[in-house]
Amino acid sequence: MIKRTDYLTRTYGKPEGWSLRAYEANEANEANEGGLGGYQVARRVLTGMTREQVVDEAKKANIRGRGGAGFPMGVKWSFMPKTVGAKPHYLVVNADEGEPGTHKDRTLMELNPHACVEGCIIACYGIGAHIAYIYVRDELHLSKARLEAAILEARAKGYLGDTPFGKDWPIEVHVHSGAGAYICGEETSMLNSIEGRRGEPRMKPPFPANAGVFGCPTTVNNLETIAAVPTAFGMGAEAFSKLSILHGIGDGGVRLYGVNGHVKKGVVVELAVGPTLNELIYDIGGGVQGDRGVLCVIPGGSSTPVLRPEETVNAPDERLPLHPWHGKSVFDVPLGVDTMRGVGTMLGTCCVTVIAQGTDPVWCMQNLMQFYRHESCGQCTPCREGSAWLERTTSKVLDGKASIGELHDLHDIANGIMGNTICAFGEGTAMPALAFIQKFRAEFEQYVRGERKRADATLTVEPWS
């Protein structure tokens, strides 16, 4: 059952909802369980809790990272050194939002920037940092302007600065602009980019918690992850976690869901964690354009393997967490980090791309491979060469010039990338490629046999007008 909530989005659509006045007024007025006005949560945390208490509370919120990998936020915070040594600690907030199909963080920055800033204050205190850098992709000029205005307002009130809320723990938040490189969303690449270098990912270990930006202990979290923190701490982390349908398996709270592609209504909404794909497509997205059936869905950004509605859950063993959905369509399984892993894909960013029947899946894959070819940073040969080769071969299939042997090549190229690269961009390219090739084998073969032609292929349901 879909459960709409309005914590992160409560300022959306309000007059100047991005201003401090709206953020503070709004919270005090509405019947939110925490009952605390804007920045009252940060005040309470800084003046009443120790660092350890903050990290413990953060763990109880069961906030799985909203950037795509789904790592538990509180656990990540606990990796930071317990005491601050000679090297200062840093918070880096990932607002690069470059994963194709993802359009949620932008709404927070534009429409509720103060939640992002308040989240930074609590997170900085919890991880022992005095400085947060919010890394925003350069194209999002309005997002940057709203964040910067919010930071100024918060500083003027004394919520940021040398003694936030009177506490002797200086906190500053800075916006750092990217310069047009998808790979800078990868956390270690982002660290290099902040340092003023080429955004090339680093080998791990060392992990950012030990040696992050400027060689200092660093926590990298997605912007939505951080923006959820004031809400979680305001109502109590456990209560927050329990809002989720998947609280029982450690996937807590509420989050933003985006729907795009062939739906009647492209939107971003806030829901309790755990809606199904069918609920997102029909209840939130208003159904498929032209009332067509669904060919497939990219569940959480282009790096997550596609799912087809005909796929069913195979979990006959009662002890398996997915057993309650055994035999049902994967489109009826609540979306969660572990449930999606269980059906062979990834939850990713919770922004789903819906692709209607009649669309050409080979062209879809070619479009995405063009993206990966363009965005590979080029450090690792399997990724640099493999992404280009995948794109070239898929184009060849589309042009009707590929052989059956080259369809096998596609598998081999993708498998050759997996596990052989510095960063997860490699898997993010290879996994969706493999899914397209395997799940649409028939269409690929039709091209090879000349039964499908590029000239007849379409990507749109409704002609653009």
Binding site: G98, F371, L459
Partner: protein, 159 residues
């Protein structure tokens, strides 16, 4: 004349330098400031940034060539980027691109002969829910219609 920041941007640079423990960290922000002023990042700007931040020109050049939003050549007065990635393509991005090319009489990657508009494709700009979309200079235009695109392009050409 060698490149130098305007006084207002010079003040911004001083603010920026205070945010980081190293000078090198100001590389990206300073390059943005320079490009705002000069329109593109030529060799004079590379030399200038290297000098101001105590870096080698090779380091700065390496950064400039890595990131797509630093123009290494002069560009038109206005920048139009049409998103071409799948979610936008599912809602007509290729038709938007074709339409822009026709209206402007140029291909993607080119600038109109009068130097007014540079047309390029972009990869996902985080507006997939309101596709198709294009970015014009600093502004996003979403849920594009044919009529809307015509209005935007006319405004740019008349500017």
């Amino acid at each position: 004349m060698p490149f130098a920041l305007s006084p207002e941007r010079e003040r911004k640079l001083q603010e920026i330098l205070e945010r980081y423990p190293t000078k090198m960290a100001a590389t990206l922000p300073l390059l943005h400031l320079c490009q705002e002023q000069a329109g593109f990042v030529g060799d004079d700007v590379v030399e200038y940034v290297a000098h101001r931040l105590d870096l080698s020109p090779a380091h700065v050049k390496g950064v400039v060539t890595f990131y797509t939003l630093y123009n290494q050549e002069p560009v038109g007065k206005h920048q139009v980027w049409v998103c071409r990635t799948l979610p936008c393509a599912l809602r007509g991005a290729y038709q938007v691109i074709e339409h822009c090319e026709k209206r402007l009489g140029i291909h993607c990657g080119e600038t109109t002969p009068d130097g007014k508009v540079t047309l390029r494709t972009a990869e996902c700009l985080a507006s997939c829910g309101t596709a198709p979309m294009m970015q014009v200079d600093r502004d996003y235009h979403e849920n594009l219609t044919r009529e809307g695109v015509d209005q935007i392009l006319n405004r740019l050409l008349e500017s």
